[in-house]
């Protein structure tokens, strides 16, 4: 990361809510961060990563200091950041803005690895986050260096502390591009206007993000964005969304990408058709990615994969091995199509929701005897969280539903909250006595 700033990527800059930061200014910010974070050299640190130039400068500084960095969401609350940092046995949690680096020291740190690394936190099937450790080499490996694109604008539509967002930022900076970061919480209309004004040529986002942009932003504004390449990832790219994007941006190259936090970038498809060519199963890609199908599930070995899970990160495993993706695929002629997830996680617009966690929240409400959380298909978000509730005797169902909504608002994020609540006599179970996860 530090090498990116010191490299030949002239023209690179970051345009965030506070304005544009040029490459020399980024280097100066990184130098200052490096001095401020010097006592943490070689140690394990968390970083609250904001969509701001100062956050990326801090990452470059910590790379130069050979830290093991763990990426936290920029809006993670102080207490939650401390709790997570202590569980991961970090020395400190850092937060940089343009004027200084705030260091919050923690107790009980584990020793650093001695080499620069970056861990991305991902929610596992149990809902406990796993710390997926990459090296900067594995993160930068999929990046294409294309000097002819220097000065082009890239729109950051993913959260920067997750794999996809980091990839967009690194790709942009390595290419000498201008990284355009919308204000957090910006409306589609505002984003479209900013993208048009910044002359954005590259944009990468989830299908849900694209649908929302096309749905809610002024079509004249959207079509005025001079997009050359649209990349879709993070969720299954369905044919309807691909067709819609093709019509909205007839001149743009349309790419959908398959990547996971653990495996990194696996492959991309640019023929505008959902799924991927079955021939990718036959031989390793030039990128060093091998695919096969076992019991209908896509299994991948990737040269871009993580190094390993962090020892204190809630999971075990190394990179470089065959990895079960949980994505179910079916062959249709020369095409492999994604047909669902093996796991139970509900995917609301690219954000994963663990049904068990939602059930725990619902069942904390007085009058709820039992609950079953399951996905409800949504044309706009892919899936929404739905639930069945069995009400205890003596409780008025309408009041219990209202209390469930009220309680869930206080303990769950908007995408996690049960949206469609139905009262039943008994929740559906499988012959094995487990809750039925399908709708």
């Amino acid at each position: 990361m530090r090498a990116l700033l010191d490299g030949p990527a002239t023209g690179a800059e970051i345009e965030d809510a506070s304005g544009a930061t040029t490459l020399p200014e980024l280097r100066a910010l990184a130098d200052r961060c490096e001095i401020e974070a010097k006592p943490l050299a070689g140690r394990r640190v968390g970083v609250r990563l904001h969509g701001e130039a100062a956050s990326f400068a801090l990452l470059a500084a910590l790379d130069a200091l050979a830290c093991d960095v763990f990426l936290f969401a920029g809006d993670l609350r102080d207490e939650a950041a401390v709790e997570l940092g202590e569980r991961l046995r970090l020395a400190a949690v850092l937060d940089a803005d343009r004027s200084h680096t705030e260091v919050r020291s923690l107790r009980g740190e584990a020793p650093g690895s001695g080499a620069s690394s970056l861990a991305i936190l991902t929610s596992g099937t149990t809902g406990a986050p796993k710390a997926v450790r990459h090296t900067w080499t594995s993160l930068l490996r999929p990046i294409r260096r294309r000097p002819e694109l220097a000065g082009s604008a890239w729109l950051l539509c993913y959260r920067p502390h997750l794999y996809a967002g980091l990839q967009v930022a690194l790709q942009c900076l390595a290419t000498g591009g201008r990284l355009v970061i919308p204000r957090p919480g910006a409306e589609p209309g505002e984003i479209a206007r900013a993208a048009r004004d910044a002359e954005v040529r590259f944009a990468s986002a989830t299908p849900s993000w694209w649908r929302r942009l096309l749905l809610l932003a002024d079509p004249a504004l959207v079509s005025a964005i001079p997009l050359e390449q649209i990349t879709v990832g993070g969720e299954c790219a369905d044919q309807r969304t691909l067709d819609w994007l093709r019509r909205a941006f007839p001149a743009a190259r349309l790419v959908h990408i398959y990547a996971t936090t653990e495996l990194g970038r696996c492959f991309s498809v640019s023929d505008g058709r959902a799924g991927f060519p079955a021939r990718l199963l036959d031989a390793p890609t030039p990128d060093g990615v091998e695919l096969r199908v076992e019991s209908g599930e896509l299994v991948v070995r990737s040269a871009n994969a993580m190094q390993r899970y962090d020892a204190w990160g809630g999971a075990r495993g190394e990179g470089g091995r065959w990895f079960r993706t949980g994505d179910l695929v079916e062959r249709h002629g020369d095409r492999m199509l994604f047909v669902g997830r093996r796991s139970d996680l509900i995917n609301v617009g690219g954000a994963k929701v663990n049904p068990s966690q939602v059930e725990r929240a619902i069942e904390a409400v007085a009058g709820v005897r039992d609950s079953r959380v399951f996905p409800r298909p949504s044309s706009l978000m892919g899936q929404l969280v739905a639930c069945e509730i069995a009400v205890a005797p003596g409780h008025e169902p309408a009041h219990v539903i209202a209390a469930v909504h009220a309680h869930c608002r206080t303990v769950l994020a908007p995408h996690e909250r049960p949206r469609l609540v139905q009262v039943v006599g008994q929740v559906a179970t499988s012959p094995a006595g487990k809750k039925v996860r399908a709708a």
């Binding site: 809610l216 019509r247 617009g349 706009l380 929404l384 209202a402």
Partner: protein, 102 residues
Amino acid sequence: MAFQRSDRSEAGVGVAGSAPAGSERADVARRVAAIFHEVCRASGLDTPELGADTVLDSSLGLESVDFAEIVVRLEAEFGIDPFAQGEVPSVITFGDLVALYA
């Protein structure tokens, strides 16, 4: 914590600027507004006045997932999901939304 009303009967309240009562479009607008307001209440938001020209943006406090919920509930109410097939329509105002179901 106060219980919220999920009573549909009050749903027509707050629909401003719709066509004269009795017309089919006004009836659709009322039913769409009722569902809109139900979702607002479940999300702990104020129920906005919804006129044909009301712009459906973040000033209402709705997140994209709230909007997705409204569309799912409207499908249950009207039996169609205009966002599920073919050319997906552009919705800027409440009137645009009502027109999809009228």
